[in-house]
């Protein structure tokens, strides 16, 4: 049996950065993309955001990685070719691809535009495409994607600072809408001020919320308020501050993926309050039942968003001037960036300048 050879699998040569094993070290990788099918959009990748999930995946921390692994699911670029049945895009369009590149297109979830909850959802990288090949992500020079999973990046948004919206942005935007936390005047808490959290503050403020950032790091207070526009800041380890804020929040979006106690967060909620988790700690968390019942509160989850909503999110971001705060890096800096990301040393997303620095 002939093993799949990434370079020969498909007709279009491609170049990117791949992790070869669980060390997570990324190195140059020659592979190939499929020919542009009737419904496909081919685009030159200009920028790709580095998501914390990329770090988890290159190191196989979730046990689902296959190597070689080309990460990247915050991908923006310019269309170079479209298939004969493509209606939404043409050559030269500014486009983006996020976390999914395929789904079954026929289940209830797909029919309701929540492809992100399709049981057969295909991830942008380390997934298996309909043709049986491994999917490779956006740390690469070219992408070919079914038009259904491509979004238009509005002209008003700069490509580099818009890239992280394709994962971080939709991850916050979707639950704000679904859980009804998008109403003007509500008091919203955001736990964690990283890639997800800082974008969450911007969306929530644009929706008219009063925003309190909840963080373990007192050092982040000034940035939270002066740079991101949060109204207040709570240090979660400060019991007095937390006690004084009990029963004040209508909702909380919790972006923290490390194991952490949620009882104090439930205590911050008003009656009928909602705690929504978008990070998935690897161990179960303790759920105190009394406060949930006595205040008719809920704890819910959310995972990225569907394609229709991702486009809606980008259009909303363009209208309200929302982009991520980024540090643009060259392709050869990526391993250093990963080390810094692991220590939380980035304000607040790295974005790889693919077009200018990633060449075979």
């Amino acid at each position: 049996m002939v093993a799949n050879q990434p370079e020969k699998e498909n007709p279009v040569p491609a170049f990117g950065l791949a992790a070869r094993d669980q060390s997570g070290v990324l190195s140059p990788f020659n592979f190939s993309r499929r020919a542009t099918g009737e419904k496909d959009v081919k685009f030159k990748v200009i920028y790709c955001g580095i998501c914390h999930s990329d770090l988890h995946m290159i190191k196989n921390e979730w046990g689902t990685s296959t190597y070689p692994l080309v990460p990247g699911h915050e991908i923006v670029g310019e269309v170079t070719e479209v298939g004969s049945q493509v209606e939404k895009f043409k050559v030269g369009d500014r486009v983006g691809v996020g976390c999914i590149v395929g789904s079954c297109r026929s289940c209830d979830n797909c029919s309701n535009s929540i492809e992100n909850y399709c049981p057969k959802m295909i991830l942008t990288y380390a997934g298996t495409y309909h043709d049986g090949t491994v999917t490779y992500g956006g740390y690469s020079d070219v992408m070919v994607c079914d038009e259904h999973f491509v979004v238009r990046v509005p002209d008003a948004l700069p490509l580099d600072a818009a890239a992280p919206l394709l994962c971080a942005g939709i991850t916050l935007y979707s639950p704000l809408r679904y859980y009804g936390l998008d109403k003007p005047g509500i008091h919203l808490g955001i736990v964690g001020l990283g890639g997800l959290g800082h974008v969450g503050v911007k969306f929530a403020k644009a929706m008219g919320a009063k925003v309190t950032v909840i963080s373990t790091s007192p050092a982040k207070k000034q940035e939270a308020i002066e740079r991101h526009g949060a109204d207040s800041f709570l240090v979660s380890r400060d019991q007095e501050q937390m006690k004084a804020a009990m029963g004040t929040l209508d909702g909380i979006i919790d972006t923290v993926s490390a194991v952490h106690p949620i009882m104090p967060l439930i205590g911050l909620l008003k009656t009928h309050g909602k705690l929504v988790l978008v990070g998935a700690p690897e161990k179960p968390l303790e759920l105190p039942v009394f406060p949930l019942l006595m205040g008719r509160k809920i704890v819910g989850g959310s995972c990225i968003g569907g394609m229709k909503e991702t486009q809606e999110m980008l259009d909303f971001a363009a209208k309200h001037n929302i982009t991520a705060d980024i540090e643009v890096i060259s392709a050869d800096y990526v391993n250093t960036a990963m080390q810094r990301l692991e220590k939380g040393d980035v304000k607040y997303r790295f974005v790889i300048d693919v077009a200018k620095t990633m060449q075979a």
């Binding site: 988790l277 990070g279 039942v289 949930l292 006595m294 205040g295 809920i298």
Partner: protein, 361 residues
Amino acid sequence: MAKSPETEHPQRAFGWAARDPSGVLSPFNFSRRENGDEDVTIKIHFCGICHSDLHSIKNEWGIARYPIVPGHEIVGIVTKSGTNVSKFKEGDRVGVGVMVGSCRSCDYCNQQLENYCPKMTFTYGSIDRDGTPTYGGYSDIIVVDQHFVVRFPDSMPFDAGAPLLCAGVTVYSPMKYYGMADEPAGKHLGVVGLGGLGHVAVKIGKAFGLKVTVISHSPGKEGEAVGRLGADGFLVSSDPLQIKAASGSMDYIIDTVSAVHALTPLLALLKTNGKLITLGLPDKPLELPIAPLVLGRKLVGGSDIGGMKETQEMLDFCAKHNITADVEVIPMDQVNVAMARLAKSDVRYRFVIDVANYLSK
């Protein structure tokens, strides 16, 4: 010098109380306040035994103030109504549930959500506005503000209807709030635990038009669940194959289990956007796996009884659909035996104390 329970108030009353965490109930002489302008005095006919009564008398939540006269599923006849009372008159069949007071001025009270008022007064085990402890329905009479009394539908039998005042509203309220009555056609509800709460949830779920599956750790309950209560299906929660076969099939789950138990298999039963509503009050936190919530946009929610308007609405709904609890009526002096059986879930599905009959002897 502090007044004793007997002398605290002007009207003599008699009931059964627990004196300490052994939870043993015994005869207890106490007193009720004079019937005020807003009050009705009720001669109690029946009182349901709720599992919360058992938790309370044994101080399982650590907040007990003894002596405790339990009972918050109270039905009886009005014997006196105050000068400002227009809703009730002597001879009316009425009920009292889990609350006898609230602040009446906060946002929650103004929205008929007295059950979420921070100053809500429980029917037993609370301190009333006058500083005296509240005593519940394992007793001969009770005096209650008319706002916290509901009319008992004529068509509804007293004994089988009494448990609706807690068990009924405790499942009805979240079923409405979490959307189970909205467009129920084709929607599927799982009910975990076939006890006092669970069996009423099955009946109400069917009346809403939902498909209902009972989830229980006791395979022996299948015949009852499907044959007698009208459930559409039955799953044994400890059988991983059955759980797997039903995975992703339910829109909602009402979880009535009050012991600590695993949420992972229950979350797996939910479809995308599914809701697990937990109503039991375990004495320790539960373990909540987060990945299923995130990957399926699922939620876990709580709920606590229901407001007064909703309690009346629930009773009227149940009367219309012929829904009552399945009860075993006992005399008051058998209450300790009943508690011991309740602790082993040996009841189908609520004990109801025949107060009036016991006292007339």
